[in-house]
Amino acid sequence: MKGAKVLLVDDEKEFTAVLKERLESRDIIVDTVHNGRDALEKVKEKSFDAIVVDLMMPEIDGIETLKLLREYNSDLQVILLTGHASIEKGIEAVKLGAMDFLEKPAELEKLLGQIREARVKRAELIEKRAEEEVSKIMRSKGW
């Protein structure tokens, strides 16, 4: 997990601050933003292994943020945090391309497990994209 890069997206600033501190103590590199629009700007600037998004946020909610992020880059691994009564939203999020969803408050071990899984998936996707690129170049050269 050392060096995993995570973006936390939640309008509860204190929640993101303390979660960031806990993840950083486990050698995870954490960025925080407090709305969907800033999340999109952040992923344009930096790459992340996992993006943890709260469902209920100002202006653009978690589902809309997920759509924006996946529209920008469908390889992004998004984990949605939902309330007790929002399991349906979590399922909807997975259908829209979220890696998974966790009920808030989530156990840190569960979140760490999801981040680990996201990192593996992202590494696989990077490898797959590289292979596709190599094949494309080889085909264009007639090899």
Binding site: E14, F15, V18, M56, G83, P105, L108
Partner: protein, 217 residues
């Protein structure tokens, strides 16, 4: 079985505010849980007898305390709202009612980045009325202001007394009237009738909704 939800605006309103309050409480619990986890993280590497960072722990304790106060405020406010259904007639303080309506709508306002300001009267204004219907009517007026606010970020609500009438007002500058505005206004009139009030609306760039209720006091 009949679905009563669409025909009972009171039930819908109660559900909407319950969902918002429990969401806020869930955030409070999530923060407290993370602080508790953080304390365990800080203690885990220490051997018995090793000193702890007292300042750090004191800081965390203060933050947990602040969250418990926040949680308690949400609970008290929601409990007061729940008790408005106890009796169809009760002596209410209008400033308190407006403050509760504002607080209960805080989440919806913050989702739109709008701030609600309550303007208090110099003297407390009390009247006997149906507290739930009054809150429902006020909540509906606030909802209209929230959906009509052109993101200038401010809504003012308050009350004043004039010539035997109480006026509760809901104002938003820089308003944008949507297609459903007329229907929303009709629904407010329906909620105000049971408390013997009437509704007045002024809308140009600024939207002002007033509820007038006869005040015998």
């Amino acid at each position: 079985m009949r679905d009563h939800r669409n025909e009972d605006p009171g039930l819908q309103y109660f559900g909407k505010l319950s969902a918002a309050a429990t969401h806020d409480l869930s955030n409070v619990i999530a923060i407290i849980r993370e602080y508790s986890g953080l304390m365990n993280d800080l203690l885990a590497p220490l051997q018995p007898g090793q000193p702890v960072d007292i300042e750090k722990f004191k800081n965390i304790a203060d933050k947990i305390n602040a969250q418990t106060i926040r949680g308690n405020t949400i609970l008290k406010r929601f409990n007061r709202f729940s008790h408005t259904t106890d009796s169809p007639r009760k002596l209410v303080n209008l400033s308190e009612i407006l403050q509760d309506v504002s607080d209960l709508h805080y989440r919806f306002a913050s989702l739109l980045s709008i701030e609600i300001t309550v303007e208090f009267t110099d003297e407390p204004v009390e009247m006997e009325t149906d507290p739930f219907m009054l809150m429902l009517a006020c909540g509906k007026c606030l909802d209209i202001c929230l959906s009509s606010n052109n993101r200038n970020g401010r809504i003012r609500i308050g009350c004043d007394v004039e010539k035997g009438t109480i006026r509760l007002f809901f104002k938003t500058d820089d308003s944008v009237i949507d297609d459903d505005f007329e229907n929303k206004v009709i629904s407010v009139r329906e909620y105000v009738e049971p408390i013997d009030g009437n509704v007045e609306i002024e809308s140009n760039d600024e939207l002002e909704i007033s509820i007038h209720i006869p005040f015998p006091g």
